[in-house]
Symmetry: C2
Subunit: 369 residues, 2 copies
Amino acid sequence: MSAASHEPSVLHEVAIDLGDRSYPIRIGTGLLGAFGTWSGLPRSAAALVVTNDTVAPLYLEALCLALRPHYATVHKVVLPDGEAHKDWQTLNRIFDGLLGHACDRKTVLFALGGGVVGDMTGFAAACYMRGVPFVQVPTTLLAQVDSSVGGKTAINHPLGKNMVGAFHQPALVVCDLDTLVTLPDREFSAGLAEVIKYGPIADMAFLDWIEAHLGELLRRESQAVAHAVRRSCEIKAWVVGQDEREAGLRAILNFGHTFGHAIEAGLGYGEWLHGEAVGCGMVMALQLSQRLGLVDAGFVERLTRLIEAAGLPVRGPALGPDRYLELMRLDKKSEAGDIRFVVIEAPGRAGVRAAPEALVRDVVRHCTA
Amino acid sequence: MSAASHEPSVLHEVAIDLGDRSYPIRIGTGLLGAFGTWSGLPRSAAALVVTNDTVAPLYLEALCLALRPHYATVHKVVLPDGEAHKDWQTLNRIFDGLLGHACDRKTVLFALGGGVVGDMTGFAAACYMRGVPFVQVPTTLLAQVDSSVGGKTAINHPLGKNMVGAFHQPALVVCDLDTLVTLPDREFSAGLAEVIKYGPIADMAFLDWIEAHLGELLRRESQAVAHAVRRSCEIKAWVVGQDEREAGLRAILNFGHTFGHAIEAGLGYGEWLHGEAVGCGMVMALQLSQRLGLVDAGFVERLTRLIEAAGLPVRGPALGPDRYLELMRLDKKSEAGDIRFVVIEAPGRAGVRAAPEALVRDVVRHCTA
């Protein structure tokens, strides 16, 4: 069903409360192609929509048609798809587009796509003329439940993921659930990794719900998907509202990401999807939590089974413990050479701590093929 | 006289008042190589000094020696000198250095050099792991009186100057007047352009003082230079304290820069020094102010003579009015295609306004070779 073919319907609205940087997340159907969705944004003569070559044929025209009544001109930049292109060269295409069209510093950018498009468009918006407004229009489950919300933007460096970036909050996030219909199964499972994440770090009742409704989620039944997106956004909003710039609490959202980023950088960006690396990374972080005496084997086993049932890898690539440690030392949470991990301190509660290297090596050996 | 060879002396301290982003500007002699200058900064295991290949042989070792007691490791990145290198490729060398040394997100960056080094180091600090602290150690007159203060950071794009950047305030600015001794005459004159600027936009008494002491300034007599740096920083601090992110007033600091940026981009970055382009740009902006009926011919003549006497060009390159207009339409102050100029509304007071294209063409024809 195309986004423009039925009446727009906002099912849920979640508020991100950050003072003068507050904004709503609208979750619903038929939103992307509806004129009214895009009312009330900062006024500007021009908009520029950034997307990738996979999403462009599906949704770009519908979005541009809906934006046209709001802006005198609507420009487009289509990037190559994939994490391998989340680099400066590709980012620079957005700046080329903005300057080539003589876009001024009121121009509103729209990120139409998954996490890579959102992170790059947001970073371009943070830097263009030292900051222009932008809107997130996430079209993947991963972007709807996690990366489009909270203002983290970045590109990758060959030595580490998301190493160059900015905190820059969007003016609006629009999650059109219709766009998930066209998502490949592998991408959908990758998004489920970030949904599952919210259970062990913050809400065991949500984990119970995910387990009970995994079949409906995998069949993409609309009510189940709508609830998963809503509850994920609520938990993320609650965390980001308390710690916008990751001085403390916000780091728990990176559960599974320290091991996961090492997998992504170690294999080369794009080999595994980000959500796949996070799925496997959560299993490794759970094994570490168990070895630190924080959770029991039954809890680790329960989550490992759920991650596997969601279609995600639970064994990491055999890069060797030395390479994992080397890559993780560059993690943004590291301090003075000490790697710091998000661990589950008790079911539903996460924290950040250093771990003895021997334990980490043991986890890597245990969890890699 | 080398920076380390005499007792350090803070002659003036100017406060930049921006709430929790406030910081001091210390102006004096013997500061760069003194241990005590670098006390009280954010604590970190590592520092990284960024400089260029002209400044490195003069001051890099002295600074690193003075920093060493404060940090377990002091890393260095030496960039090629010049505005032509204020681009992403060169910026990326800073990220390569940071990640190559596994620098964490507490690492303090030091910008040792002129405006290009300061703008690039500041932008790297704004983006590395989404933000690390940095310190400005300006070694040119231009950087000491203008670019090191106020938190504007950026790199150039082939289509426009400072188009990609961030607002990121330093933790400290240290203006060691000893470093001006080694500055080539052309660079010193370029710095005087930004000193002269403060007169017509904000302080006619300071303009009187500059005219009366131009000979001493050009001979770099220490008391005169110290006063020029101090008063320039005071005026800049007053403006930035009221309008950190250039919502309004701060734009007056760009007097001469709209025409000047067009000269720099039109000739290719590095052909003219930034201060030279600003000197000539001020003459053009004065001619425009006169044509708008805001100031009289005597005022324009008086400032043109001063700019020329400071060793700066007062006639622009013959790019033709069309090319000037095309380049200026990309200026960050432009809105919906209208170029907006900083003009002198009355001696000592500046404002921003659009101007009829015919007048701008007339100014370009009048002022170019």
